[in-house]
Symmetry: C2
Subunit: 359 residues, 2 copies
Amino acid sequence: MSQRVFSYSELYQFALQVFTSIGCSNEDASLATSVLLSADLRGIDSHGIARLVGYVRLWEVGRINANPQIKIVHETPSTAVVDGDRGLGLIVAPKAMQIAVQKAKQVGTGWVSVKNSNHFGIAGYHAMMALTEDMIGMAMTNASALVAPTYAAEKMLGTNPIAVAIPAGKEAPFVADFATTTAANGKLEIAQRNNQPIPTGWAQDENGQATNDAHILKKGGALLPLGSEKEQGSHKGYALGSIVDIFSAVLSGASFGPWAPPFPAYVAMPENMPGEGLGHFLGAMRIDAFRPAEDFKSNMDLWLNRFRSAKPIQGQEKVYVAGDIERNMEAIRMRDGIPLVDEVVNDLEGLATKFKLSI
Amino acid sequence: MSQRVFSYSELYQFALQVFTSIGCSNEDASLATSVLLSADLRGIDSHGIARLVGYVRLWEVGRINANPQIKIVHETPSTAVVDGDRGLGLIVAPKAMQIAVQKAKQVGTGWVSVKNSNHFGIAGYHAMMALTEDMIGMAMTNASALVAPTYAAEKMLGTNPIAVAIPAGKEAPFVADFATTTAANGKLEIAQRNNQPIPTGWAQDENGQATNDAHILKKGGALLPLGSEKEQGSHKGYALGSIVDIFSAVLSGASFGPWAPPFPAYVAMPENMPGEGLGHFLGAMRIDAFRPAEDFKSNMDLWLNRFRSAKPIQGQEKVYVAGDIERNMEAIRMRDGIPLVDEVVNDLEGLATKFKLSI
C-alpha cells in the first residue's frame, strides 16, 4: 500500500481550516486540531487525521454541534458533571479536563464526568494535560458497542480506553493509554486493508467461536476484552470496559452499553437511548496533595529508571515503560513527517474539494 | 485431595482468637477477621484463612505491629496519606477507606494512599465498604514482585489487584476485584497441589519463554501481566500493574516495584528499600456528587439487567456481571460452610496448638 508523507504543520493547517469551515471558532478549531493530530504524532494512526472525514460527516447529519455551549450542570468541590452540548469530543474533553485541574488546585483532586459529547480522539492527550501542573491525569471514554463480554454472543461495550499520565522529575513521564480490549479496532482495520488474518484472541464470530477473520465484525462477530478468553482473564478486561462505561456514561447521564452512539454517520442511532450522547470521565490528582512533589518525583525517577533498565528477554533490546514507544514516535514524526495511506489521503482530498481548500 | 468443611462462625471465632492472641484489640481482631473471611466466603480461597498462619509468622519476626498507631501524615480536603505503622493491612486498609468515605461526604470524593502497611486481604472488601454509603468504592494494593513486565526477564511487579464497587437500585451491585495478571498466584498454587500443568499464557520461564510448569516461579520464572503476550495486549496489563504500584506506593512513600516487601516471613526483606512497607490506594466517590442518586441507580439497574440478560454463547448458561459469581458463592458458603483443604487445616491446627485454642 503506497503512502504520502506530510509535515505536522501541513496537516495542522489543513485540519484547522476544516474545523473552521464547519463553523468552529478559531480557538476551538485550534484545540480540536491539536488533540486530533497528537494521535498521528504518537503513532495511533486510527485516531488521528484519518478520522477527520468522519467528524465532518457527523456534523453534516447534525450529530455534532460546532458551537457547543459546554457547561457544568452539577458540581461539588471535587466533582462536576459537564454537558458537552453535542460538541466535538476533541473540544469538550480538554475543557472538562481543565475543570478537573482547577478543582484539584482547590481541594487536591478533581473528577469530571461528561455527557452529550462525541469521540474525543486519544485519551492520552487529555490525561497528559495534567503533567505540566504536577498532577496525575486520567481520561476514559465510552464508545459504540463492538466488544462481547465474557461468555456473551452480543456486542455490548465499546473499546473503552483508559489513559493515566504520571509526572516524573528528570525521567520522561509514565503515560499509559490503551483500549480495554485485546486489540483496538484500528488494528483490525489495518489487517483488513492488507488482506491479512488477525491473531487468535482478538475477535470471535457470531457464535462466540475464535476466529482469524479480520472482517468478522461485519459478520456479527465481536472484539474480545483484554485477556481474550475466560481462562486467560477476559472477565478482567470485561470488568475494565464496564467500569469505563459506567464512570463515563452512567455517572454523567450519557448513553451507555449497547446504546452508545456510533461514530460512522451512516449507522442509525440506537433506539431507546437511556442518556445523551457519548460520555467521558476525566480526573486530576495534585501530587502535593499526597506528598511533597520533589519527593514523589525523585521516587518516580527511581521507579522509571529501574523499569527501563530491567533485563530484557532474549531477542528484545529493552524493556519499555508505558508511553515510551509513543514518545519516540512523536520525535520521529515531528522531524520526518507523518505518513498517510492512500485511503486517508483520498478522504482529505475529498474534504479539500468540499471546503475549497488545498492539501 | 481431602477437605473439611467449617461453618463461617467456627472459622470466625477461631481467627478472632488468633488475632487477639497476637495482641490485637478486640475491635481490631474483629475487623481483621471479617476482612480475612470475606475472601473465603466469596470463594477467593488463596486470600482467606489459608493466609492466617502467614500473618502470624510475619508478626513473629516483627514485621507486623499488632497495635499500630494508624495516622494521617498529610491531607487536603479530598486526599490523605496514611501511615499504617506496620499494622495488619486487614485493619489499616478499612480504616483508610473510612477516611476516604468521610472526605467524600465533605467534598464529593476521597482518596487515600497508604504506606507502611502489610497484605490487606481481598481488595473487594474495602471497595464494597462504599456501597452502603451510596458511593463508588475503589481499592488497590501493591505486593511483592512476581510479575515480569512485557519483554522483561525479571520479576518487577506484584499481582497488584484493583477492586471497584458500584451501587445499584434493585439489582445486585457491580463488584470487580481482580489481579492485574492473567492468573493470580493462588491459581498456580492450586495447580502445584494437584500436580497439574498450567495453561499457556499464565507464566514464563527464566528466559522469558512460555511454560506450562506450575512450579516455574521457584525456578526463576514469572507470572505474566493480563494479556499474557505483547500481541495479546500484555503491555496493557503491565501498565495496569504499574499504575497500581505507583498509586499505592510511590504516592504514599511505601516501597515499590521489585522492592515491595514479601509476604512469606522466611523471605528476606529487599535491600535498599525506597519506602516504608506495602502501599494501598483507596477511593470513594459519592454518587450524588455527580447526579441524583435515584437517577444513577435507575440507570445502573438498566445497565446491570441488560448485561445479565445478554445472549450467551453456545455452551454457557448466562452472562455474568463482575461480582455475580462471588456473590452466589457467598450465599452458598454462608449456608453450607467453607471447605478447607488438609494443608490449610493442618496450619490452623498448628496455630491452635501454639495459642492453646481449639479448632
